[in-house]
Amino acid sequence: MSEAESNTVRELPYVMAINEGIREVLREQKNAFIAGEDVAIAGSVYGYCAGLLDEFGEERVIDTPISEKGIMGLGVGASATGCRPIIDLMFMDFVGECMDEIANQMAKMRFMFGGKATLPVTVLTMGGAGGSLAAQHSQSLEAWLAHLPGMKVVMPSDSYDAKGMIISATRDNNPVFVVLNKASLAMSMEVPEGSYEVPLGEACVRRQGKDLTIVAFGRMVHEAMASVDRLKEIGIDAEVIDARSVQPFDTETVVNSIRKTHRALVIHEAVKFGGIGGEIAAQIQEEAFDYLDAPVMRVAAPFSPVPFSPALEQIYIPNADSILTKVKETLAM
């Protein structure tokens, strides 16, 4: 990672970090373009494509029809033939509209062709609940994508990672899904100007601790961090790991931590059943069975679609409270 100098580091909200990431890519890579619904004239409905049309023009910042199968096919066909497309899939919930293009074409083409095709395509998409957008605009479906050989899947939790991972994703010679989180758009932190990479496939220890390892995905990293002080109050010094990458998953960093803490909790926004937490819990006990003092715990959404009413959505989304409750319950405190 080529860290920039200190005077070029500014506070940047997540939404602008995404913008800068895309911008750097389009500046650096001649064959890169971004295509998606309302990315050009509107600058994306989240605003993270603001100004791109002005800087890079219509040929490289492309509004598409509402045709997710077509858009994803555009990404497959253009990447296999020498471009480096960034495809914007407005809401992650819309993967269902183009799952064939993602799963059967994008993820598998290289393998099916015996390694003779390369698809350097990056898909940006927005996941997560929290804004009363109801059942079809709030999902976290990373588990579907991570179950796909040939696909990489990352979930940057903050501005620094969002920018760096977008850059890394576009430099990678494989299809990469960058799953962003809409509830984080306004979150700010220091981000260097210029180009830098955040490696795909490496988790990051956000806080060191000795009693419990919390493995968090995407926005849940912040809930995990928010739980640290309260866990301390009940005598638990938590280590927080930002998984960052779902596929490949950095089992090593997680397992090393658990060898130290002997306890693990996985937290994600998706519904628990069939969520990525099951896979991680399974891996942890496979790799570190003898080190575990308690079952690997999971904190995730209950088994229902995301409800509209704020009264329900609020209790639906996992948070620091749910972590505390779960830890108390499992450790019988």
Binding site: E37, D38, I41, A42, G43, V45, G47, D63, T64, P65, I66, S67, E68, K69, G70, D93, F94, E97, G131, S132, L133, A134, A135, Q136, H137, P302, F303, S304, P305, P307, F308, S309, P310, A311, L312, I315, Y316
Partner: protein, 334 residues
């Protein structure tokens, strides 16, 4: 082949129908205006897509439907539900996220629905409705009743593969299904010319083997007539029609002022507002002597009254309780 519909018809609809069309439009307009206000007041969370400007379409089409006929709607769905007979109280309650809402607060604006009224839901997925409407039409044909289903969708939605598949199947099986494209010139912030290389979505009908009709979606009588013919064909077992209504939305894609983007000109908006469906129709009703100014005002004030009561009702309604979350995921009846 696209037939342009004429507006006039020698043997016009009854006074009662004209008054109902008017009332429907006023109800939609006022509901939406108030919903916009409530959103700006922070009463309505989430995304709100207002139907203001397009009232003639929902009203003209729904005038031909009973509660036994099904419709599928879009993200911009309140207008369709109001025209289908939706009551303000449970509608506002739903938008407010209360347990007295049509969907017990679980659906909100994008999933507002009422099965008893034959309204198979707004839909958060663009192009989500037409396959469902086709399925409902299949159901009607299967049960050999005379009911129809109507799929509302936008110009933007017409580029979704799901619409293509539904249209082809409806034509193949000669289903009692009417595809109503509300072409308001934009999919979100993208003008039609930047999302398809055609002007009339109805041009796609020939490719499925069904009639395609274009009509003035700002003229409730034009919609009423064109929809009437299409629905009659459907009821008579003569198969589906693609009816395109040229219309316009006055507010932004989402909410009232939306994102403040500069994607369409004030002049364009003004031009369309000059063709306002309600104003034009009220003029006409006066000219025809169907309604007096006073009677029109009475409609407005009675609808206003309904709105006020409904908002009060919604405001006073409780939020769903935490233990209600897991209800309704599955049907537990054996």
């Amino acid at each position: 082949m696209v037939a342009k519909k004429k507006t006039e018809n020698s043997n016009g609809p009854s006074q009662k129908i004209l008054q109902e069309l008017h009332r429907k439009m006023v109800r939609i307009r006022k509901f939406e205006e108030s919903a916009g206000k409530m959103m700006e007041d922070g009463k309505i969370p989430g995304a709100l897509h207002l139907y203001v400007g397009q009232e003639a379409v929902a009203s003209g089409v729904m005038q031909h439907l009973s509660n036994e006929d099904w419709i599928t709607s879009t993200h911009r769905g309140h207008g369709h539900l109001v025209a289908k007979g939706g009551e303000f109280k449970p509608m506002f309650a739903e938008l407010f996220g209360r347990s007295t809402g049509y969907c017990r607060g679980k659906g909100g604006s994008m999933h507002i629905s009422n099965m008893d009224l034959g309204m198979l839901g707004a839909n958060g997925i663009v192009g989500g409705g037409p396959p469902i409407a086709m399925g409902a039409a299949f159901s009607n044909k299967f049960k050999k009743n005379k009911n129809v289903s109507v799929a509302f969708f936008g110009d933007g939605a017409s580029n979704e593969g799901s619409v293509h598949e539904a249209a082809n199947m409806a034509a193949l099986y000669q289903l009692p299904c009417v595809f109503v494209c509300e072409n308001n010139g934009y999919g979100e912030y993208t003008p039609q010319a930047r999302h398809q290389a055609i002007v009339d979505v109805a041009d796609r009908a020939a490719g499925y083997g069904m009639p395609g009709v274009v009509c003035d979606g700002m003229d409730v009588m034009a919609v009423y007539e064109a929809a009437g013919e299409a629905i009659e064909r459907a009821r008579n077992g003569e198969g589906p029609t693609l009816l395109e209504c040229k219309t316009y939305r006055y507010y932004d894609h989402v909410g009232v002022r939306g994102m403040g983007l500069n994607y369409r000109s004030d002049e364009e908006v003004e031009e369309w507002k000059n063709k306002d469906a309600i104003e034009a129709f009220e003029k006409r009703l006066l000219q025809l002597g169907v309604m007096t100014k006073k009677k029109i005002e009475k409609v407005h004030s009675s609808v206003n009254q309904d709105i006020e009561e409904a908002i009060a009702f919604a405001n006073d309604s409780p939020y769903p309780l935490p233990e209600e979350l897991l209800d309704n995921v599955y049907n537990e009846e054996a």
